[in-house]
Symmetry: C2
Subunit: 385 residues, 2 copies
């Protein structure tokens, strides 16, 4: 039996609850994946991630390629043997970080040459090398090597880039040898509907176990982003998981889940936590604000995370001001739990056929009377508004 | 009944196992107290400290006085209500940090005026103010305001300073109002046997619920330090807990427990953990060393802490190199557990009347054939060697 079976278990409009089987356990979608850049979700122990309901962790090929190196991770049993998280892992292809972090030197048909941000070494990443690295890392879900153009980019560039990404997908697939890893293709095309459509249709011709919507959440307006998510989810096959890369704001999750997106990842909840902010239904609390210094309430009433069950805002505000690392840790834990609770509540609402109510209740608390048009339109397109 | 009863439950030579009752629970001695400088043991959640057997946490009056301020902590329920640790707390008097961290401006009979290291404010700390602050913080065990002279200091200075410390103890006691807090007196005297004896004898005349051995572990040779510990523990009453301040190296604990010391504290296990080192029976592993990058073994064979049960040295070495905060967190957790296991094993050895065997076995692993004379002499003076 296919180790990567995906079953849609319930539907409400275009939203769905699914179950994705992997060699390291089955997970329920929609779900949010915490980012463990260098094989560690910053400041959090795997046992704490398990306790808050994390299901899949994401690690960055770029970071692990530079340090400690894929062969070392392979020798130590891959990510599962190395990093203490025994559930499923996903690795990205490295392409995005090469472009955003590396000092890129050259991009051509063959691949990308870049300079390590750590020691200046010149490193070449090609589809074949990206897959070889991801095979050494041993994640359950791996990504094809793609090019993610910046926003905005000229149409000709988007077009040339998406064609190259398709050729790189073909090479990625050919390079792949391990049957216990599922390769996801990534559709590009920027915010150009015609290019996005072409990229998506060409990508799904490869009949892959899962598809990613790439090249979004890179600075474009929300309207443009959700027009692309709407278009993509209409084209992607119903029986494969859909992964919207790099998205982690709660309102984006609610809109995208309504359109049938299944997987999300973002550094946002942990990074904003380390910077002193907490996610709550109303938006975000900046714990540096003096008004929290005497506030005994938990970050979020009704939250079941250790942070909310144990500490008041006053203590957390004190830790943030004092620069105590525990502040960022406790906020990261809460922020991840906040996103996990959001997807759990969404799954339940979908199962109960009331995703529209769920989204409206979310909007009421998050936006008050001024629900942004992009949000309402995405929900309407999903059949919920 | 006295809420601070101390019972000696077992003896082996001069070592003893005791039980100290406090308003927030009874604890077993000898014990090591993790330091939660600003009300947080850096990087560790209270639940993790509980899981590794921490019994008492120490917070610094100096740090909490500057931020968030004692009145704020009082309003939030004291340290117990504020900081998530429901077991006993100990606060120091602030004197030590004033001298080591503050820009001291003046010390006289009245007290100390210093400049905050945070914002340059001038702050006055007197025995009365130190006790008022500690009452607001609400720890179970509080310390008299003392002066801790640097090493070395001229005899005349040590003498004047210990006399002043005695007058400050008297004022500390007079200022104290809360019956649910036990005030410990601190004996000084540097490494001068005559002054140390005088300070100790004058201090115990106050018939206090506990006594601290202060002014040691400030740079003096081990021989001089343990000569003072030996002298102090001979003079201190058998039925009161004895606290050797600022001591946290495993070999120092083993020598001092053999002489009948009951309480210890030090930032060493967490600070050295954040700096990338792990405590093991043989000494210390520096995880920055390249030889650990492929070492799959746990930090310490047989250790029951989460770090050792979950991760190999290779992963921890990777985290340390990558500057991932989880590295320091996992090493701090192990290092504290290492010290707690050391005191647990010592308690068992004392109960079983074989502390000498315990200390020799410790020395064999820690020192090999070259047991330092100060260690052997301290153990011999305790009746174990």
């Amino acid at each position: 039996m296919d180790p990567f079976r995906f079953q849609v278990e319930a539907r409400a409009g275009r939203a769905r609850v699914g179950r994705l089987f992997t060699p390291h356990g089955a997970v329920e979608t929609p779900l949010f994946m915490p980012v463990g850049t260098a094989g560690s979700v910053k400041g959090l122990m795997p046992k704490d991630l398990e306790a808050i309901g994390s299901q899949v962790l994401l690690a960055n090929t770029y970071h692990l390629l530079l340090r400690p190196g894929p062969e070392r991770v392979r020798a130590l049993g891959g990510l599962h043997g190395f990093a203490g998280w025994k559930g499923p892992w996903l690795t990205d292809s490295g392409g995005f970080q090469v472009m955003s972090l590396g000092h890129m030197r050259r991009i051509d048909e063959e691949g990308v040459v870049f300079q390590s941000h750590l020691d200046g070494r010149l490193i070449k990443l090609t589809p074949e090398r990206s897959i070889a690295v991801q095979e050494a890392l041993g994640a359950d879900l791996i990504m094809a090597f793609d090019e993610c153009p910046p926003y905005p980019s000229p149409r000709e560039y988007l077009e040339a880039s998406l064609e190259r990404t398709l050729r790189w997908l073909e090479r990625s697939l050919k390079a792949k040898t391990r049957p216990d890893q599922a390769l996801f293709g990534i559709a590009q095309g920027g915010t150009d509907p015609e290019l996005r459509r072409r990229s998506t249709l060409e990508t799904i011709r490869f009949d892959l176990p899962g598809y990613a919507i790439g090249g979004l959440a890179v600075g474009e307006p929300k309207e443009a982003m959700f027009a692309m998510v709407e278009l993509s989810t209409r084209l992607l096959p119903e029986d494969r998981p859909r992964y919207l890369m790099g998205v982690g704001h709660p309102e984006d999750l609610v809109a995208a889940m309504g359109l049938g997106v299944d997987l999300f990842d973002c550094v946002y909840p942990t990074r904003t936590g380390r910077f002193g902010s907490a996610l709550v239904p109303e938006g975000r609390l900046n714990l540096k604000n003096a008004r929290f210094l005497e506030d005994r309430r938990p970050l979020e009433e009704g939250c079941d995370c250790y942070t909310c069950q144990t500490f008041g805002r006053a203590y957390l505000a004190h830790l943030v001001r004092a620069g105590e690392m525990l502040g960022g840790i406790l906020l990261s834990l809460h922020n991840l739990r906040h996103l996990h609770r959001l997807t759990e509540a969404a799954r339940q609402a979908i199962r109960e056929g009331r995703y529209g109510d769920f989204a409206r209740e979310f909007a009421r608390r998050r936006f008050g009377r001024e629900v942004p048009p992009w949000f309402r339109e995405a929900l309407a397109a999903g059949g919920h508004w």
